[in-house]
Amino acid sequence: MTVRQMDWDFSKRGQEDVARHQKKIKDSIRENIADVISEESIISRKKGQTVKIPIRGIKSYQFIYGKRKGGEGGGGYGLGHGKKDKGDVIGRRPAPNGEGQGPGKGGKPADAAGEDYMETEVDIEELIQMMMDDLQLPDLRRKEIAETLVPSGWSFEEVEKHGLKPNLDKKRSFRNALKRSADSVSKLSEKTGKPMDICQKALNKFKGDYQKALELLQRENPEAELEDEEDKLKPYIQHGDLRYRVPKENVESHSNAVILAMMDVSGSMSTTKKYLARSFFFWMVEFLKHKYRNVEIRFIAHTSEAKLVDEEEFFHKGESGGTTCASAYDLACQLIDTDYPPAKWNIYAFHFSDGEDWDPAKTMVSVKRLLERNPNMVGYGEIRTEVAYGQQLMRNFEESFSLERYTSYRDSDFEYYLGQRAEMPLAGVILKNKGHVYPALKVFFSKEKKV
């Protein structure tokens, strides 16, 4: 017979190879975490904890021909079949973005083979875990949530057997005495075999004296002597029944963090620049959620004046006007004073601008005021996606707070500035491209004041 049925199934080895490939994808994400976390698809995800991100596919490299160039349109070209005439449009797709970092630069439509990137699904939680490993942060999932204890007035919750007369807890003392009387009656009844009401009368006759009541009840015909006594349960307070209240200072436990997000929204802050800030804030919130039970974020947009806005307005609306950074820091101080007392809140204040400021001296004064409010972290990010010219507010930070400048060549020349004293929780970063978001997060986490 030349046709036969074989019930083979996918082999175990095959499953292992699938798993091995999956692991390589994870490794690739880990290696390219700086690029991965700044993917637009992550922060613009609709909902849910998984996102699709393009990663450099795990490719089998060989010597291959390059994408052909030089068609009339200047893009790539290829061969196809169909009833078409010269000039007919055979397909369209969204143009690859101009930044040159995304997938699918030029070349064929997505349904054709040979894409350099492939999409894979990852869990945001998994990305955070990878970052924590990389940042060498302790595993915050397993660690206790960071808590702050705050006094919240006085109360008498505990009682003791000794104390000052004014603190005597009469109710509790009375109750103790009553309870002791009832116990005595039961014991008397048990020992003598007399009914409870007789025992109660005996106890009442001797004003609670157990020994005397017992002696009476053990004599012949005690009922005769007890005729006039009441059989009602009465408290006979003894010294041991007294309870005194202890005044105590109360403490509440809090696990709150607030991010005060400040940003220059004047015309010079382009969408690309705002995008870097948005990506940064997204991850900052995700990180802090691992550390605090309650994380809030407030948005302070400023031009020459600062105002509280919602997230949508903060990231998407531009305004005309000048640039006075001090206004944002002043509003942040005000918010702390009214809504976020540092005793109850861990405060993280970050400000992003492109370096322009009409009154840097004033800004430095406001930054100092903010630092006096004991925040966990004050960060300043200067976004320079274009070649920097003009004013650079970072210089003022550097001088006023004696920040030290560092360059990380590993992270494509990422520059950052740190306060030199441990008690100065101030850091600055220069963001030139998407790849700088991740090292910026790193800087702030290493600089954060230990709680």
Binding site: V3, Q5, M6, H21, S60, G71, E72, H81, R93, A95
Partner: protein
Amino acid sequence: MSDSREKDEIKRLVRADSHIQKIVGEYGLDCFPQEFDVIPAQKMLEIMSYNLPVNYSHWSFGRDYEKQRTQYEYSGGIPYEVVLNSNPSRAFLMKTNPYPIQVLVMAHVYGHNDFMKNNIYFGRTRRDMLTSASESAGRLRKYEEDYGIDEVERLIDAAQAIQMHIEADLFQESAIEPESSEPKRRPPKVGTPFGDLFDFDGQLNVKSFEEKREEARKLKKKIPAEPDPDMMGFIMRHSPRGFEEWELDVLSVIRDQSIYFMPQRKTKVMNEGWASFWHMRLMSRLFQDGFLTPEEHGFYNLYNARVLASNPFGLNPYLLGIKTFLNIEKRYNAGQFGPEWERSESPDKWKMDLNMGKGMEKVFEVRRTHMDWFFLDEFMNHEVVEDSELYIFGSKQQGNVEEFTVEEKNWSTIKDLIVRSFAHSGVPLIKVTDGDYGGKRELFLKHFYDGLTLEEEYARQTLRHVHTLWDRPVHLETVEAEGNSETSIQLTYDGKGFSKVNLGTYVAQ
């Protein structure tokens, strides 16, 4: 499906198969004995991604399997066909496919069977690859246990990167001989599938390289004396790294498989064209002879149309192949051939019909003697290009949209592009020109540029893999093109980083 229905279905397939065998003989096809295995979908996808029913383990196969599975899940039933170049010929049918598709695949497979038995490029392939692959899979698994999965993987990664560069000279018979089991040379030692890499005394040929090196230096000659297209073989024999036995075995396994699949790579268009040419005839006969109901025949027609469908963004080898064969058949039946006909410039020559009936004879001859490159070069004419509705498209950016438009319908421009991309079975021609570059045992590779440039990122990453195998700096000479100017460059990887030297620019006037 219930057991009895399954059995009935198999019985029906067996009947169809014996009828196909009969017609195949009548038509003059010359096949190996044919075996069909009906297998579950998962196994089918596995064979497709591993190239063979049992093969060594590697992550790239796992990746391909996942890709296949996604495609399968999205598209639903596809008339997948897998036929192995072996004697007897073995082919697989996917259990979930309905009867008319199974019969279509069977008919198609007989075309491949005939092709692989008779095409001269298949003449010297080993027909026992299935057993061999399954044995080597066992050995490689053992190496993973002994030397670590990462170590083995690194070697496979590197070997796969250069597996296409085995022997590109098509006119040398040795081109399609497996390096590892060549009987004319000394018999390999028992248990070593790479015996020919050793001298008689069991010493690696590295020693002879040293001798050759001295000799070559005296004569001021290079090693190799002539540029060697067999990059993989050269590296296995001469790498200064010095391979251990197991490493040579791994390299040999990959090299042998690449050699085994080479004829299929060289004849993709012809092989699929030939198989489609025959399945259409065979299916009509089966319908006439009552092996398909009209309904089933309609179903077949639907799927056949899909196989031969126009892909707006890529070349369909089935379509181009069958159109070319049909055109050859038509022309030779009509007498549209011969030097006089070729020379004629009259457009009427395409309408001439001398009723010579030489079509069938010619297509059988071509299926024996040609491979894609020459097949397309010789037989793709304006009729074939027009029949298969070929065009060249280009892309340009229109605001936020990238737009693809048909830019070229001129048949000779299209033919030129296709023939060029089928040269050397689509693998850029890169030869070893010096195994002792600069007198420092560095490896020099030269890309023989023919108008198509290399993908630079791929070239770089592949050079890294070459370095893994050579362990000394490796160089690649190639060409970069921009507009009208072409620049010759030398790309070097020394194990730490890349450097690029400009060797001169040529600007076309």
